[in-house]
């Protein structure tokens, strides 16, 4: 009843009620503006100029349409195939190999499409770089394809124009700029695509005054320069974390955000896997992390020390000097600094020479030179570091970008093109650029929306999403990868490359260009192909092409850097301070904020803080206490005249007297999910000696009035000493006893203590055919949340928004529980609630455990949740009446209730509120209505599909053939899914070994018999009496 009084608009035209709309409101084929009507309709109706002679044709069509429509309810917006394309079957997915790129971020992917519509992204296992893994951002990039806030065609300022007009005007203006000798600048983020670079070169050939400037909002320019100084190569090398026995990271969040986390995750995890999942090995790498805020990588470390940004260089130097002393090399001199565990790290490094790795997240070339020297001292080049396979993820040049902004301010730029770049937002000098932009006579942005930079540009010529594009990528020397479109262009967009080719006066078919580029560039390197077409088809099919002829002459790379000079420079720059210091970091979900309008990413909880939909000022408990601040209090952070107001988040593990703030928030023109979320911290990035510096000393943090509640999906930080939940052990203990750290509850009976599983009221369910189960390795899980977003994408999980997260109603079916250790004694519950100042962290993926004695099943009054013969706990949405008894009785609290109708609801204005966004829906999974419970189904639609495929082929499902979305998304293979009745499956083999080892059920003592087992977390720590640990952490 309420709804009838609401007004729904067919479009913004109706809302604005503009004159053309009113005029055409009652005409059946409202076609007010030819430029706005879809092009295919043009063909159908003969455009706006239907002629007299077409009368019979249109009439006939109309008659046919009317009589068809009379037969049954008209189908809205679903256009069935008239001629079924070959090899495409309705409701059967097609997979296309493609490549995800976002600036310098790379992943080889498989795109699952349904009837020409991408619905899921998976990792491509053929890639030696991403190895079938994905990150949360890769998973979520799918949703950006269906972003309603994107532009649907080119614009001149606010005016909608067509491509012909845009091309005509831009070409003539480019010509006039060139004629008068004006500088043309193409400003982009890192471009991984060699073909695109060739296009840019073609463009520059046509317009000689053009220059290509690359910059990265998350710059690694310092590293590139350091390698130039040290080895004469301006590159970033390949790191192999799997070969490193000692890993020391100085502020590099290499599992979350640093350079290429997806590439590093699996090798890192391989070094940490142990027991059955680690091919029987009983050793693991030891990971030291020294950093300011607690990063996801730091949370995985065995030992973690904290430093202030003003100590960044000194820590590297001190580590160098300590190692040098141990290996008998000369000290580099310079100032020293004392950080907890630094000595220990040096000892371990010295003991594992050639099998260790030191990385630094610093953008200061001097620090990176010291790190290079240290790795060189340890003999890591050629073993864990491969300079012969440089990576291309970060090609940005801070100095060139700075010079460009200077030029722009001075009015020396005639034309500028922005592609994949939003410097007004994400460059520290964005405000200066915003002032300078109107002075540039021709400014063009290829952004898909009128973002902070594009809205100031004269023209926006939107480039499509990568899933609509042809492209290639060279993430690493010798590794190539193709992007192919998985859908036709949704809006009237055109690829950046096609636009440049058009303006360069060349044929603008980039597909042909790309093909011929590959024919001339890579085909000669390939062997074993009869023709280029065979090569091309193979590359398209595989998505990746890797040459075996990559240079391997790296081992001999000789260090030529001057470490003493670097040490002097570092000592010069890094001085002790007494005040507050600001450290800027990227969030695993949001990165530099380019995909801030993606509600999946906005709602993805940060791995460490579990906060979403905001950035905040992370302070240590001690600092917060000293300043009289509590969680959610607003503070004003001031550095050098700039200030921002953020809520406080008390962060265990944060260095005292520092405040960490994430960049990537505070978008103003990003779209409805991005705008106004958090504050923009990029203006606080500074330039030191031509390099971006992501920290600031002398920051002022003052209490502001008011509070802002931070939306967190987990508000209780510690595990309260509950060993039935998280079980962990030290490596040395594990080596002695594989069951170390296991907690085996016993129940008292008249016959003495027995294991819980021996007594039960229930008879259990038979699982005669399959028994689907899961093993989750707590040692491999790095907490990255790829599974969370992968599940969200696969299972049509709703986004609920900031306020509903605060109301503790997020809908994720899988979550990563994060627990901090506490210093308290076991029974002191009040003290157990408080995390240690520098805690140990454990990540525990938590999803429906598919209990064999499921507490939820017995309590449902209407049998809406029942047990299958394959060990699945099933949820029948249609039968659910919403008593929520099952959710209350779930010991794992994994059931989710639809508190509202989340689709077609203006209060939840995310992708389920518009037809474009709904294209992301997986047609195999029901969209749940309000008032019903939902939960993890073990991707029952995939199980069903896999079984049917096997049945059609008259065979049993192969071991590991069927995978859940979470297991498939996991970059570290921490989740093993499979049939526990099939002895050949990985899960069976793993459990066979680990049932008497690390495998445990969470809350075993309530005997619900989950189908999910966890493997204990093993920390590579030396035994240390508890008292000593505590003193050290207080030190």
């Amino acid at each position: 009843m309420e709804n009838t009084t609401k007004r729904y608009w067919k479009g913004v035209e109706e809302l604005r009620n503009d004159a053309t709309f009113v005029k055409n409101a009652n005409s059946e084929f409202a076609n007010p503006d030819p430029s706005e009507s879809p092009s295919d309709l043009d063909g159908l109706l003969g455009g706006s100029n239907t002629k007299r002679r077409d009368f019979m044709k249109v009439m006939g069509f109309g008659m046919a349409a009317v009589s068809l429509a009379a037969c049954e309810t008209p189908v809205h917006k679903a256009i069935p195939y008239l001629n079924k394309p070959e090899a495409t079957f309705p409701s059967i997915s097609d997979y296309y190999a493609s490549t995800y790129t976002d600036g310098g971020d790379y992943a080889a992917i498989l795109v699952e499409t349904r009837e020409g519509r991408p619905i899921k992204i998976e990792g491509n296992p053929l890639s030696s770089i991403s190895k079938g893994g994905t990150t949360a951002r890769v998973q979520a990039s799918l949703l950006s394809l269906y972003d309603i806030d994107k532009l649907n065609g080119p614009r001149r300022g606010e005016t909608v124009i067509d491509w012909a007009t845009a091309d005509r005007e831009i070409t003539s203006q480019l010509a006039s700029v060139t004629a008068r000798g004006g500088a043309i600048r193409i400003v982009t983020s890192t471009i991984l695509s060699p073909a695109t670079k060739a296009v840019v070169a073609d463009f520059i050939a046509k317009y000689p005054s053009a220059r290509h400037i690359m910059y990265d909002a998350n710059s690694a320019f310092g590293m590139v320069q350091a390698n130039q100084t040290s080895f004469g190569q301006a590159v970033i090398p390949t790191y192999d974390f799997s070969k490193a026995q000692t890993i020391v990271s100085l502020g590099a969040d290499f599992l979350g955000t640093w350079v290429s986390p997806l590439e590093y995750a699996l090798p890192y995890a391989q070094g940490r896997k142990i027991g059955a999942v680690g091919s029987g090995k009983k050793t693991m790498s030891r990971h030291y992390q020294f950093e300011t805020g607690l990063s996801m990588t730091g949370a995985n470390a065995d030992y973690r020390g904290t430093y202030k940004p003003s100590q960044e260089g000194l820590v590297a130097l001190a580590l160098y000097n300590k190692v040098a002393a141990k290996v008998g090399s000369a000290s580099a001199g310079g100032a020293s600094v004392d950080i907890q565990y630094l000595d220990k790290a040096a000892t371990d490094l010295a003991a594992t020479r050639g099998r260790s790795l030191v990385v630094s997240g610093s953008n200061d070339p001097n620090v990176q030179v010291i790190v290079n020297a240290l790795n060189n001292l340890l003999g890591n080049y050629g073993t864990t570091i491969d300079l012969g396979k440089p990576v291309n993820y970060r090609q940005g040049n801070d100095q060139q970008m700075n010079a460009f902004i200077d030029e722009a301010k001075a009015g020396r730029v005639g034309a500028v093109l922005f592609f994949g770049a939003n410097p007004v937002y994400d460059h520290p000098r964005g405000a200066e650029l915003a002032e300078a932009l109107p002075k540039i006579s021709l400014s063009i942005s290829f952004a898909d929306r009128a973002d902070e930079t594009a809205s100031l540009a004269k023209y926006i010529t939107p480039a499509p999403h990568f899933l609509e594009c042809w492209n290639d990528a060279e993430p690493k020397q010798g590794s190539y990868s193709l992007t192919q479109p998985a859908i036709t262009h949704i809006f009237k967009t055109r690829q950046f490359q096609s636009s440049l080719l058009t303006w360069a006066g060349k044929p603008n078919d980039f597909q042909t260009y790309l093909k011929s580029f590959w024919r001339t560039t890579y085909y000669p390197q390939a062997t074993g192909f009869d023709s280029f077409d065979a090569f091309w088809i193979k590359c398209l099919h595989d998505g990746v092409f890797e040459t075996s002829t990559a240079q391997t002459a790296a081992a001999g790379a000789s260090f030529a850097g001057n470490v003493a000079q670097a040490a002097a420079a570092v000592t010069q720059r890094y001085k002790p301070t007494t005040g507050m210091e600001l450290a800027l970091y990227e969030k695993v979900s949001m990165g530099t904020g380019s995909t801030a309008n993606n509600p999946w990413l906005q709602e993805m909880p940060d791995p460490v803080t579990k906060a979403c939909w905001d950035n905040y000022a992370a302070l240590s408990q001690k600092t917060a206490n000293d300043m009289g601040l509590a969680q959610n209090d607003l503070v004003t952070i001031t550095v050098g005249g700039k200030s921002m107001e953020l809520p406080v988040l008390v962060q265990p593990g944060q260095a005292d007297n520092t405040v960490s703030v994430a960049v990537g928030y505070g978008r103003e023109k990003g779209g409805k999910s991005a705008n106004g979320v958090g504050k923009n911290a990029f203006p606080f990035v500074s330039t030191v000696n031509g390099h971006l510096s992501y920290s600031a000393v002398n920051a002022k943090v003052e209490k502001a009035s008011g509070t802002r509640e931070i939306a967190q999906t987990q508000t209780h930080d510690t595990v309260m000493g509950r060993r039935a939940v998280v079980q962990e052990a030290k490596l040395a203990d594990y080596q002695k006893n594989p069951m170390a750290g296991r907690y085996v509850p016993k129940v008292e009976t008249s016959e003495g203590p027995t294991e819980t599983a021996d007594i039960s009221l229930w008879h259990g369910y038979g699982k005669p055919n399959h028994s689907w189960g899961m093993v989750i390795d707590l040692n491999s899980c790095i907490g990255c949340n790829a599974c969370v977003v992968g599940c969200q994408s696969e299972n049509n999980i709703q986004v609920v928004g900031r306020q509903e997260v605060i109301n503790r109603r997020e809908m994720h079916w899988i979550r990563i529980d994060r627990y901090y250790s506490s210093d308290a004694e076991a029974e002191d519950f009040k003290a157990l609630e408080v995390a240690s100042a520098n805690p140990e962290v454990v990540f525990q993926p938590m999803l429906c455990q598919h209990c064999s004695n499921a507490p939820c099943e017995t309590v449902c009054p209407v049998l809406a949740t029942t047990h299958s013969t394959e060990g699945l706990n099933q949820m029948t949405y249609n039968r659910c009446i919403g008593t929520r008894y099952c959710a209350n009785n779930c010991p794992y609290k994994v059931r989710r209730f639809n508190w509202w109708k989340y689709f077609d609801n203006d209060n939840f204005d995310y992708h389920f509120n518009n037809d474009l966004g709904k294209m992301v829906i997986n047609p195999d999974v029901t969209v749940r209505s309000r008032g019903v419970i939902e939960k993890c189904s073990f991707c029952v639609q995939r199980i069903q599909e896999g079984k049917l495929t096997a049945k059609k082929e008259r065979r049993r499902p192969l071991p590991d053939e069927i995978q859940t979305a979470c297991a498939q998304a996991c970059p570290t293979n921490a989740i093993i899914f499979g049939d526990m009745n099939n002895p050949e499956s990985t899960i069976s083999k793993t459990l066979e070994v680990e049932m008497k080892g690390r495998a445990f059920h969470v809350l075993e003592e309530i005997n619900v018999r989950p189908q999910i087992s966890y493997l204990t977390k093993i920390r590579n720590k030396d035994e240390m009496p508890k008292q000593e640990t505590r003193q050290e952490s207080q030190a």
């Binding site: 109603r809 519950f829 309590v859 959710a887 010991p891 019903v932």
Partner: protein
Amino acid sequence: MSHVTSAVRTPLVTGGKTYADVTEDISRQVEGSPTREWTIAFTISVIVLLYGTACVFWTWWEGLGVWGLNKTVGWAWDITNFVWWVGIGHAGTLISAILLLFRQKWRTAVNRAAEAMTIFAVLCAASFILMHMGRPWLAYWALPLPNTFGSLWVNFKSPLVWDVFAISTYFTVSLVFWYMGLLPDLATIRDRARSKVSRYIYGAFSLGWNGSAKTWARYEYMSLILAGLSTPLVLSVHTIVSMDFATSVIPGWHTTIFPPYFVAGAIFSGFAMVQNLMLIIRVVFKLEDYITVEHIESMNKVITLTGSIVGVAYLTEFFIAWYSGVEFESYAFINRATGPYWWAYAAMMTCNVISPQLFWSRTIRRSIVWTFVLSVIVNIGMWFERFVIIVTSLHRDYLPSSWAMFHPTLFDISDYIFSFGLFFTLFLLFAKFLPVVNMAEVKAIIKSSSEKLPVSVSGVAKGERVTNPTFNKDAE
């Protein structure tokens, strides 16, 4: 029904009431025009009901998101209110059934109103059963109805299904018992009625009562049979409601003590509510001679007894939580007393354990004001008891990652207010249009327990079978 009562016992009806007085005093309300007090009270109740209905409608229209529940705390005020109202509903049947079997004559003055209260309270409770569902329009799926959905049946393992049976049975039996008990009084009013309409209506509802010996005999048998049927129900309903919690795996819910503890708590709160209602009725309707301080004192004794049982149960829970050695159970109880909801626990302990102990003092237990205030406190305490059991157990259960707080919203509160509107509207309608005291049964005890002997038997209502009074010789 009559038996010898010792003369030393204080009379149950004071003021030397005759049969005629009884009829007159009690029928006065029904026959007269509404009093000012009644009109005001009724208007307020209806306004509250309308406001509440609007809020309930909005809850229904928008979804349960309007409440403060979350992924961790799936029940809060909804089920708290449900259990609270069901508990209140216990007193009626206890008074009319168990006290009947125990020959507690004082019950005759209060059983009618208490039974009416029971029925209305159960209705309020039922409204929360419907309201708490995500899709209340499908509530009938919880009934084992033959259907065309396939071989779908209800889950007989689910305590919620047991609830459906227990509460619907209880409601049916209570309603029948109450209505049967009304028959002689309805006939009395029918016979006294002046207007055709009321004669017709009361006549229809009195089911042709003719006051013959046979009718009375059947009435007596029927009362006994229904009392026998209801007695197990008094124990079963709250036992089954308690199993909603006791059969679960949640620490703080999974407790075998719940059935007796819930039954005692239900009687405790039910009697408190009866006290509140009767104290108002006796003043407003001038029934002080029928509902005397003796009645109040008797009920206060029941309150003290059941309150003490509840108190012992609270302590036993704590002891068992410690004695069991189950860390989750221990923590659940430590958290109740010292966690973020300590205030709810403190409110519960103060109201339910400490306050009824004041009734050990004769002065307090015979004081109208004290009784009224303490009864209100007991009902607040019992509401908190259910809140504590439901919310503090859920909000911190097994996995600390999911621990959450529950904060009520306007709709949690308004939907609770709705039930008050419903309850008082129905109760005031009852009080106006039906005799609030069972005239027939009170007359039965006048002979044995009245303060003075009736001087004459004039003015006896028509239809009433009058025998020569059997005087209590001892009293003379």
